[in-house]
Symmetry: C2
Subunit: 457 residues, 2 copies
């Protein structure tokens, strides 16, 4: 009997593996598809790979400013796809090699919990095997949802997975249904690689979530317009017709698009059809867990997209660690207070803590600090001086409650804001911190200056 | 009578200006040359500008991995120089415009303190004017030093200033005398732009300073070799001969170089010949100050390279703020405990807190956490997975004492380590912090894993 059976080898499963191995737990892994899960194989990592390419494409026109004359470049997405495959394969192999060197049994197949200590694996080779474990961790992730008669078919109507894992040539024109993180990130990337992109969003703004301030949605919309990405807000797909060559998409606002592909990015649902023993789920299918990530069976844990917490790879890893720590008898509970959110588009967007909109809605008395990258010397040196930082402070104590960064380096610098919030820093402490010059992080000096020392104008 | 006269408009002078204006001080500025000082016009900012170009040049060969086919690019340094001029001019104008809009008088000329409240300005137009101030801030910076018969002449024997401000075409071959920060940064940049570079260093390693661990010096040496930069350690220039075409440089190890230019980067000395009232200086010419940045005249302050503290732009700004706060009656003292050090070469190098070498020398009982960028997903996505992080912990308490990052993003991420040290974080708190995935900052999770949870191997 194993100490722990891990079903699903994405970020959650892998983190659980890393910690279990260090703690000498005897573990087994059940994974139907590729090691690394969606994140590595068909979501985060390929997206950021192509984003790096897209960002580089957008910089080609300014290379002459550095004396690099490369005007005659061409774009061949299939070569980029090969590069992506190389990078992902390299990373996946490093995970596989670790498992091999540690002699961790990997059951390749579909796992189903048939008893609180038993997992039945319908293996990809057709055989069935039942394995036993003292503990089980469900980290089976999520699957895309459909909307309005649009059902992914891998051919005309695509999921992000289809694009990121399989599509090595690009369509000429695409309709992206959903203007959330996935739609915006992929929409931008495809557009930079030469695809004509339409984004259709039901709500009145891009990135419609409480973590993102409407100010950022507006900024993003402006940038998308500059990048000639068509955005349709307050709009749905009325109907669509698949012809031989094109797909005709009728929008609720009367517009008609003729595209080659439709990309569905309207959300995901938990992949929780995993047991026959009555593991409790909520009405959306999320597995119910307590703060130790335990299900209603005390030896069965769940983490990641399959539970009702932010659907983010690093939240899955975090929850996996908490689960394993509890299995090891170290009582720890999850705390979602300070999760950074990051989106990659023409620039990076990152936010943590309370947003300005939320603060106002809650009636909090706040003061904000704002500074654009316009005059940040490092950003100017890099021709990346678009964007801004905005910090939210409690008006009385001047303690920081939240912050957003839009601009280059945001996905790394956001951790500084996160740490400032965690340590209850005042505007003054943030201002007086010594930052390297020239660095992008110096923007914090200037975004706090008015609050700390009074206004310049 | 002004509230404050600021002599020298580099990072120190400018920071003093910003704070003084917010506090409604009536100020005047004396500056002989360009607004922004060395840092903006002929040091930090142009260096990082050209470094951005150099880094991009080094990336041209991997663009095909993203489907960007740009093999047929050319390098024209003079175009890069024009781009640099544009960027610097943009930034300098923004400073000038601020001064203009605030109606701050700028006396263009050489300022000399002739009385504790009087500055005589020999103006660039030939006239002389005496201005009076309740307080004076000396932020006159530093000038390059010569060594071994090598005297900068602006033609054959150059300073970093000559190169960064004036040299719009490149020599074929150059001898860089001094393997410190300036020599390594410019050596790398020139090499990437096609110059054959020789670096001659007196000591037994590159970057020979107590802040930099010998491990980093070795790494840098290896990278320079890969980049075909010749490094001569334990070596000096015996003599040199300037002929019509070439400069013959005889090294102490017997090697003879034939180069087009010599670049002197052996250090700088304070530009402190500034008064005739007996402002106290040490034997190296640094102006003596107390922790409030006051000289032996209580109304005369000094900051930046002209005082004996780390010769860094952001230290100058920091000291300037402390000086102005004291002028404003808010008693504050400088604290140099946590200054980040950053060097840009093929990669970025950043370090803060105690170095491993220093910790060992001091007999501290330490444990280290190390992790390479090799498998960091974001770094792999960017083809930037060279480098590593190393963290130094107290062996008993596991509190962090110092850390270094070598790799992309180091110059920003170093602030996280700095904040970890400032807040006395243990390895466990660093490990348990939630980092965005995929981010470079995740390297901290893995560099602390062994210390916190036990070894994997």
């Amino acid at each position: 009997m194993y100490d722990l059976i891990i079903i699903g080898m994405g970020p959650g499963g892998f983190e659980a593996t890393l910690l279990s191995l260090r703690k000498k737990l005897n573990i087994a892994i059940v994974e139907q598809s590729k090691i690394g899960g969606n994140c590595l194989n068909r979501a985060c990592i390929p997206t950021k790979y192509f984003w790096t390419g897209a960002h580089q494409i957008s910089k080609m026109s300014i290379l002459k400013e550095y004396g690099i004359l490369a005007d005659k470049f061409e774009i061949d997405f299939s070569k980029g796809f090969e590069g992506k495959e190389k990078a992902i394969t390299f990373l996946r192999k490093s995970l596989s090699m670790l498992l091999k060197s540690k002699k961790v049994p990997v059951y390749k197949g579909y796992g189903r919990i048939i008893d609180k200590n038993k997992v039945e694996v319908k293996k990809n080779d057709g055989t069935v095997e039942i394995i036993e474990g003292k503990n089980i961790l469900i980290s089976t992730g999520s699957i895309p949802i459909s909307v309005g008669g649009l059902t992914p078919d891998g051919e005309n109507i695509l999921t992000t997975e289809d694009i990121l894992e399989n599509m090595n040539t690009l369509p000429e024109e695409i309709a992206v249904i959903g203007g959330g993180v996935a739609g915006c990130e992929l929409g931008y990337v495809l557009s930079k690689y030469g695809v004509k992109v339409h984004i259709i969003e039901l709500m009145d703004r891009l990135l419609p979530s409480k973590e993102i301030s409407s100010e950022i949605s507006k900024y993003l919309l402006r940038k998308f317009k500059q990048n000639k990405i068509n955005v349709y807000l307050n709009t749905t797909v009325k109907q669509h017709f698949i012809n031989d060559e094109k797909i005709k998409v009728e929008l609720s606002d009367g517009n008609i698009l003729n595209v080659d592909k439709i990309l569905l990015t309207v959300g995901r649902k938990p992949n929780s059809d995993i047991d026959e023993i009555g593991i409790e789920k909520d009405d959306k299918g999320f597995i119910k867990v307590n703060k130790k990530m335990q299900t209603n069976f005390e030896n069965i844990y769940a983490c990641g997209d399959v539970v009702n917490s932010p659907m983010l790879a690093y939240v899955a890893s975090y929850e996996a660690k908490i689960a394993v720590k509890n299995i090891l008898g170290k009582e720890e509970e999850v705390n979602y207070d300070l999760i950074p959110y990051v989106i990659f588009f023409a620039n990076e967007i990152a936010t943590v803590g309370i947003s300005e909109d939320e603060a106002k809605k809650s009636g909090l008395d706040i003061v904000t600090g704002y500074y654009p990258f316009t005059y940040n010397e490092k950003a100017v040196d890099e021709h990346e001086n678009d964007g801004f930082v905005k910090l939210i402070f409690d008006k009385e104590t001047k303690k920081i409650l939240g912050g957003s960064i839009v601009g280059t380096g945001a996905s790394e610098m956001i951790h500084l804001i996160q740490l400032f919030i965690k340590e209850k820093y005042t505007a003054e402490k943030i201002h007086d911190f010594i930052y390297f010059h020239p660095s992008l992080s110096e923007i914090f000096i200037y975004a706090t200056y008015d609050v700390v020392e009074g206004k310049l104008f």
